[in-house]
Symmetry: C2
Subunit: 212 residues, 2 copies
DNA sequence: TTCCGTCTGTTACGGATTTCACAACCGGAG
DNA sequence: CTCCGGTTGTGAAATCCGTAACAGACGGAA
């Protein structure tokens, strides 16, 4: 609406929302920025400033209304709708993703899965039927799909991403161990446990004494 | 050695290393910061600055020696050693992690897996035998384990993290959808596809026109 | 050897992000 | 009704980070 909102702020909002959901489940009705910050290892000022980009949700002397703030955050992030997701690559990882029960309850509905391997096509995985990779373009043009999950080998990931982008996908979740190129107006996030570990080893080594 | 190196810089190094490994495999022997930056969607200045924290690895007029820089980065990150990893929680996700062939070649050896479910204990998964969760403490005290992977339900994740930390683990890769509390000298990274999607929806919504 | 185009390492700058600090505010106690 | 402990929202200050720019170095051409 008004300001340009820093991307780091947007990236923190889902964390806040998740914590608020947990508090709501415990029956908490109000929370201060201090209490929330303590739970999330974030400074209270950070939380207040982040939220202030979007409005004034708290009450001085009290804190924030838990269900109220949760609802607002969900509106801001667009989590009050259903999002359509497709998965490309139904190998080991792709199957695990399709079968994972954690997306649906959060509003991310897996509406299709594609694989290039004829042996995979037609099989039912986690309630949906695997389609041929050749059907990808057609499907995306005839159905609204918001987010594409890329779970193919790195060697073909760029090609798959290009297909998704050309077909009008707005966001990509990439599991392949490479950095695909996407236009600036497409969101992309990477999930890579190896990369995550490889930055932690630096600090382990440092703690051991920097040297050997 | 000298300066305090920003964590963002450390987090980018594995990405550089991965790209260099790909170039090396293609037989490339030199690369400029410009070329590398183009491949990774990072500015050349960023790459040069990042590397300059650690030394002078390039040659003016030429660029960087690919295998040489890769070797140096691997040394800096500690990727020239073998790291011992344990997995806690061998459910769907934990099994997929243990069976995933992508860790070993990168020097991350899964040396043990633990589960609280008696039905799971004793089974062989991906070449290792699942141990009882009660053995966790003992195992960690008798064996060097560098990194713990947490793949248990969110409700018990904090408890598992506490156990790992108390037993002297230095780094944790957390797959549970919550933010466990860890001491400042322990590294932790989170992998959560739902959170990743939940920040992208903000931008999809924005692109659709901010409104509806 | 000299010249030229290229590319690094580094410093200086500016923008982005976080932290600080406090006025304004809230609701309850007395 | 007033006071008080507690907490927000927010500018200003401080810090962190990325970008720009250029001197100096390199290798090849001639
Ligand atoms: N980030 C993670 O946590 C993680 C974990 C495991 C694997 N991975 C990565 O995910 C990817 C898949 O891993 P995996 O273990 O499932 O591999 P896999 O070989 O089991 O599965 C890959 C699947 O992609 C299919 N495929 C190939 N080309 C395709 C195309 N053009 N269109 C559609 N489908 C195509 C193959 O037929 C296969 O079924 C790899 O890049 C791997 O490195 C990531
Ligand atoms: N980040 C992701 O990509 C991703 C994907 C799927 C699941 N998850 C998360 O990972 C976790 C595991 O998911 P899942 O689908 O494998 O669930 P799951 O129920 O199949 O497996 C959980 C396992 O943990 C074991 N366990 C429970 N308490 C334990 C303890 N104290 N010590 C050791 N083991 C214990 C259980 O016996 C079970 O085998 C969940 O928190 C889930 O939300 C994350």
């Amino acid at each position: 609406m008004a300001l340009e909102i820093p991307e780091v702020v947007i990236n923190r909002l889902p964390i806040y929302a998740r914590a608020l959901a947990a508090l709501a489940e415990q029956g908490e009705t109000v929370v201060s920025s201090q209490a929330l910050g303590q739970a999330l290892d974030v400074t209270p000022a950070q939380i207040r400033k982040d939220l202030s980009y979007f409005g004034r949700f708290g009450k001085q002397g009290r804190g924030y209304n838990v269900p109220g703030l949760l609802t607002r955050l969900r509106e801001i992030l667009g989590l009050d709708r259903q999002w359509h997701v497709c998965v490309v690559g139904v190998g080991r990882l792709g199957q695990a993703i399709v079968e994972y029960g954690g997306f649906g309850p959060q509003g991310f509905q897996i509406v299709a899965a594609f694989d290039a391997d004829p042996a995979m096509v037609g099989r039912r995985v986690g309630g949906i039927t695997v389609r041929a990779a050749t059907e990808l373009d057609g499907f995306l043009h005839n159905n609204r799909v918001d987010i594409g999950v890329v779970a193919v080998p790195a060697a073909v990931a760029q090609q798959v991403v290009d297909q998704l982008v050309k077909a009008g996908i707005r966001a990509i979740l990439n599991y392949a161990p490479m950095t695909p190129h996407v236009p600036r107006d497409i969101s992309i996030r990477h999930i890579d446990p190896v990369i995550a570990m490889q930055s932690m080893t630096f600090y382990i080594k440092l703690a051991e004494g920097g040297g050997k």
